[in-house]
Symmetry: C2
Subunit: 201 residues, 2 copies
């Protein structure tokens, strides 16, 4: 089994999307397997850090808004999220947690489809129905998806998974761990590549 690149991301995070678009090819280049790990920044992680949401932080929020648009253009991605929507990433995160254990070969495709639906197509993905729409287009059964999303065990698994991530020091999206080494941010992918080539320094 190939060694892993742990990839932590939140659907509310456009930088998480930019990384999701790249990490599959990145991992294949190094004969690695991506472990897709949804987290909940706004709901859980920032509380643990005592920080306000990024887009409520004076000065930084204006830079981030401009930078996200610039990065999207740089990577050739259409950026057109719905306006006036406060995305809840819970349903999307839960389904990715489930699919990563039940249908792991579909995880990359479904993660990208959910990210693109929201950030490129401008469709809210907050509800189980909206998540099921995306999954059905990839061949999943709507009944299966809705049943998973109604399952309290899945809700519990996500909460525990996010707590574990916090316990391991994960605090951002995207966040990568490879061979025990942590990298935060899409713009650290080149350094992570060099780390893998050189085996650290």
């Amino acid at each position: 089994m190939p060694r892993q690149i742990e990839f932590y991301f939140d659907f509310i995070s456009p930088y998480g999307w930019f990384a999701a678009e790249q990490i599959g090819d990145f991992a294949r280049r190094f004969d690695r397997e991506v472990s897709w790990r949804p987290i909940l920044l706004g709901i859980t992680v920032l509380k643990a850090m005592g920080l306000p949401p990024l887009m409520s932080t004076p000065l930084k929020k204006d830079y981030i808004a401009a930078d996200v648009a610039r990065c999207a253009r740089y990577w050739g991605l259409r950026l057109s999220p719905p306006t006036g929507v406060q995305l809840s990433p819970l349903a999307a995160a839960r389904i990715i947690l489930w699919v990563s254990s039940e249908r792991p070969d579909c995880t990359e495709q479904l993660t990208l489809a959910l990210y693109r639906r929201y950030w490129a197509d401008g469709v809210d993905i907050s509800t189980p129905d909206a998540v099921a729409d995306v999954a059905c287009a990839l061949g999943f059964s709507r009944a299966d998806i809705l049943s998973v999303l109604a399952n309290p065990q899945i809700k519990d698994r996500l909460a525990k998974s996010v707590d574990q991530a916090i316990g391991r020091g994960i605090f951002g999206s995207p966040f990568f761990i490879v061979d025990g080494e942590a990298f935060w941010g899409t713009d650290r992918l080149p350094m992570m590549a060099e780390w893998l080539v050189r085996g650290g320094w």
Copy 2:
């Protein structure tokens, strides 16, 4: 006169140091001139943002400590700041503000000497005497330096300069503005280079 790269940095910021070590050559490569602009993150900017100091932020502080060490090794810089010192960057920032207008050709050299004194040699540079030691080694007169650092107009100029930076949306170290475009972080230098080559995108 070559066009400028505005370079904002705080002496308390090791990432500011890493950028300072690179920005001179970076600018020369693009026939640009660096405008060296000391700011005061801890004292002023974070208050404007309502944020705690980086190294008091749970989760992030552990990552940053490891990342700073990793970046120093990556760039071949000895990282050995004094232990148990709470650096005040005021004197260093004031002298750089002064030298950048009075002896601009010395600004890069003095900025690097101050950064290295603290971050590589492990000597506190909080006091006017400590800053004068560094400047004297580069040929400045101790009396001139101490006189500048006792001058209330210089203190006032720095305060105004930092306020102006905040007014322009600068919130981190390093922070760059080139042709009106803002870039935050040492790891954005490659993107900034591409921006200059392509004239934006």
